[in-house]
């Protein structure tokens, strides 16, 4: 036991003396929370738009004013022809355009019908849809206010409530995701590299011939990363509560115990990678491509799983992060108890046992 503690101390020193690696260990989670929390949104504001007004009458001018008055749009310039609209799109300056045909008002007032065309840059489909929706809403409300007389019959008034996240903030969705990602990153990549490093530099040979049990060598490498991950988890939670105002609705103790289970899952994966590779580069690329990417892809916070083709949806079940993400969302945001997450927890536990068994089986006392 004393030996074991000495080894754990050695590993901690390795970690703390390497300032640049610490940047990744502690800097990355903080940067991610800040970026996801404050910078990355799909919210539309000040989107640049051009107006092609072939009519230039009171109504078109009034509608353009309404558009300009909204915080969503910023009118880039007036253009004179369709060619100029296209050029503006190609120069990347604008995301949408609105076209009023000639004689707009007189058509509207005499034949009761006139057309407005909205053109959006479809190379970014979701933004295009949102912009088209906003522009239509502005035009419709103008029409309601200025052109329609008397209240409309048979009016259905929907009353919408946004559950869990009334302000539609991004944080509710990504904080659990960042947790899944960072823990996976720290545990898998760092553990596997630090073990393989000893192999590559030849110091593993020394450790393996020492009286210390080989298996404990590996375990003593896992302990510091387990602790660092728990610290990281705490930092992420504190940041999200105090900086992003995201509440923890469920039990904190439950959250931590399930997270510990997930960390152990990730550590056993790191162990498995380290037992099957010989060079740091391979270990790194393997954990990056084999673990990071599937985690980002299939956790469900960056890419919607329900839109994926069926084979990918099936594969996603094999990714631990997916189950962890569901658990964290349920505990943190929905405030549910263990009764609602026992299924996911059991799956995670099963994965951990399987990975541990596999890596112990592959663990070799002899190097070459």
């Amino acid at each position: 036991m004393k030996q074991f503690i000495t080894f754990v101390k050695k590993e901690f020193k390795h970690v703390f003396r390497d300032r640049k690696t610490l940047l990744m260990l502690f800097g990355l989670p903080i940067v991610q929370i800040v970026l996801f929390g404050f910078a990355l949104t799909n919210e539309i504001k000040n989107s640049k738009i051009v107006v092609l007004d072939l009519s230039k009458d009171n109504i078109t001018r009034a509608i353009v004013n309404e558009i300009e008055a909204s915080q969503y749009f910023e009118i880039e310039s007036d253009v004179k022809s369709r060619e100029e609209v296209e050029a503006a799109f190609k120069s990347g300056k604008i995301k949408s355009a609105i076209v009023f045909p000639s004689n707009f008002s007189s058509d509207l007032l005499h034949s009761n019908k006139a057309q407005i065309q909205i053109i959006a840059d479809g190379s970014d489909p979701n933004t295009a849809t949102t912009l088209t929706n906003y522009l239509s809403a502005i035009i419709q409300s103008y029409q309601q206010q200025h052109l329609v007389q008397g209240p409309l019959p048979l009016q259905i008034n929907p009353e919408t409530r946004m559950l869990y996240n009334p302000e539609l903030k991004g944080a509710h969705n990504f904080v659990p995701g960042v947790m899944a990602l960072v823990l996976m990153l720290v545990c898998v990549m760092m553990t596997s590299i630090s073990i393989v490093r000893e192999k590559e530099l030849g110091t593993m040979e020394v450790l393996l011939v020492s009286p210390f049990k080989p298996l404990l060598v590996i375990l003593s490498k896992a302990v510091p990363y387990l602790m660092l991950s728990l610290i990281n988890l705490t930092v992420i939670l504190i940041l999200s509560v105090f900086a992003l105002g995201l509440p923890i609705n469920g039990s904190v103790a439950l959250l931590f115990s399930v997270s510990t289970l997930y960390i152990i899952t990730a550590l056993s994966l790191g162990l498995l990678i380290s037992t099957s590779t010989a060079s740091q580069q391979t270990a790194m690329l393997l954990s990056l491509m084999g673990m990071m990417l599937p985690t980002m892809l299939f956790a469900g916070f960056m890419f919607p799983i329900e839109n994926m083709p069926l084979p990918l949806q099936i594969i996603s079940n094999a990714v631990p992060a997916k189950w962890f993400y569901i658990i964290v969302k349920s505990i943190m945001i929905k405030g549910l108890g263990f009764a609602s997450i026992w299924k996911e927890t059991t799956i995670l536990l099963g994965m951990t046992l399987f990975l541990l068994a596999l890596s112990f089986k592959k663990f070799n006392v002899r190097l070459a």
């Binding site: 690696t21 990744m24 260990l25 991610q32 996801f36 404050f38 910078a39 990355l40 949104t41 799909n42 539309i44 504001k45 989107s47 190609k90 990347g92 995301k95 007032l109 009761n112 019908k113 006139a114 407005i116 065309q117 053109i119 959006a120 840059d121 479809g122 190379s123 970014d124 489909p125 979701n126 295009a128 949102t130 088209t132 419709q140 052109l147 007389q149 259905i156 929907p158 009353e159 919408t160 409530r161 946004m162 869990y164 996240n165 539609l168 903030k169 969705n173 990549m189 590299i193 490093r197 590559e200 060079s279 580069q281 892809l297 960056m302 890419f303 919607p304 839109n307 994926m308 349920s330």
Partner: protein, 373 residues
């Protein structure tokens, strides 16, 4: 010149002899490029709808069938109470609850207005926002339809009506993959260029073989060119495979603009990326460090590049960070040339900026590189 040639031979041999690394360099990016766009479909569809219909009238039936046939919604079931439906949201079986009050139809006809209740699972804000607006759209359609039926068009037609038509240029079918594939291709060459360069040089440092090179007559610029050219070629190759093999054949994206301009931009961009890798390697001593540092920065570059969320939506400070990253410019240029067919004149400024990045990163790295320890 001959010296560079020898170093190049050594580097290529090292790359091709590493049986573990080779498939990772070549196969994984290709697989990624096929799988990522399949997965990265942000179109909001298949919204699971739980319905609590207390009225069960003709109107509510009509409304429900209009919703389910709109293509956005999938019926997850009918429930007797709001609480039951809410339980479905807790279990992630439903995204949206539509509650129609009792006597909905009667009150709507008698009092000319009636409420209905919508609850959206808003944990994913984007999905909730778009889902809510789709529902509002279908509802408005339904509203004007019943109004028309009721009035026989009598009064309603005399109101002036603005008809809104909309068009989506450059991607008329709103295929999300067109948006993602060019961006992902940029990410791939960036990752390969920066990680591989940084790791490769640091590996020589860590294992100690760099000492051997340092005591030979190989000059500094020989070494740097010899290290960078292989990865430049590799990244060019992977980009071409991605652009023609996958983007074109698998996803049917025909580059609209001038390929020569695109490749000219790529070749300068790669100099900037490789310069970044070299720079990281001059500051690091172990591969773990090199990986951590380059991963840290590449991650920020990626998130801020506008690949997933528009740069225009970011707050000012974040836009400044985004402008300090070469990745943002290439993603923009890629989408402009490939999807919109923009020409050299449209991306002149991007060109100037990327040349600036390449010069800055490369000279910083070269100045910082020391043969002595």
């Amino acid at each position: 010149m001959r010296t560079i040639f020898f170093i190049l031979r050594k580097e290529f041999k090292q790359i091709f002899r590493n049986r573990a690394l080779l498939p990772l360099i070549f196969v994984v990016p290709i697989i990624q490029l096929i799988i990522l766009p399949l997965a990265a479909d942000y179109e909001v569809k298949n919204i699971n709808l739980a319905i609590v219909d207390h009225d069960r009238s003709t109107y509510t039936q009509k409304l429900i069938s209009k919703l389910t046939s709109s293509g956005y919604f999938r019926l997850s079931g009918y429930f007797d109470s709001y609480d039951e439906a809410f339980h479905q949201i807790e279990k992630d079986k439903a995204d949206l609850i539509l509650e129609l009050p009792a006597n909905f139809e009667r009150r709507l006809v008698r009092e000319n207005q009636e409420q209905l209740f919508i609850a959206v699972n808003a944990i994913n804000g984007t999905k909730a926002g778009l889902g809510g607006s789709y529902l509002a759209q279908v509802l408005a359609d339904f509203n004007s339809q019943i109004r028309l039926d009721w009035n026989q068009g009598a009064r309603f037609n005399h109101q002036p009506q603005i008809e809104i038509t909309s068009a989506n240029w450059f991607n008329p079918h709103m295929n999300f993959r067109w948006f993602m594939v060019p961006g992902i291709l940029v990410i791939l060459v960036t990752m390969i260029g920066s990680y591989m360069t940084a790791l490769n040089i640091v590996k020589e440092k860590e294992i100690g073989t760099i000492e051997q090179i340092n005591v030979t007559p190989i000059r500094k610029h020989h070494f740097i060119l010899g290290k960078l050219i292989p990865f430049w070629v590799l990244a060019m190759f992977i980009f071409s495979v991605g652009l023609f093999g996958i983007s074109f054949f698998v996803y049917g994206i025909v580059p609209q603009g001038n390929l020569f301009v695109l490749y000219a931009f790529l070749s300068i961009y790669l100099v900037a990326v490789l310069g970044f890798g070299l720079l990281v390697s001059t500051y690091c001593d172990t591969q773990q460090q090199a990986m951590s540092v380059s991963f840290f920065f590449v991650m920020i570059f990626l998130l801020m590049s506008g690949l997933f969320t528009p740069v225009d939506s970011m707050p000012t400070w974040a836009r400044v960070i985004s402008q300090l990253s070469p990745v943002s410019y290439f993603i923009e240029v890629m989408r402009m040339i490939v999807l919109k067919g923009s020409g050299f004149n449209d991306i002149k400024i991007h060109f100037a900026i990327i040349i600036g990045f390449a010069t800055l990163l490369m000279s910083w790295a070269i100045i910082n590189y020391r043969k002595t320890t």
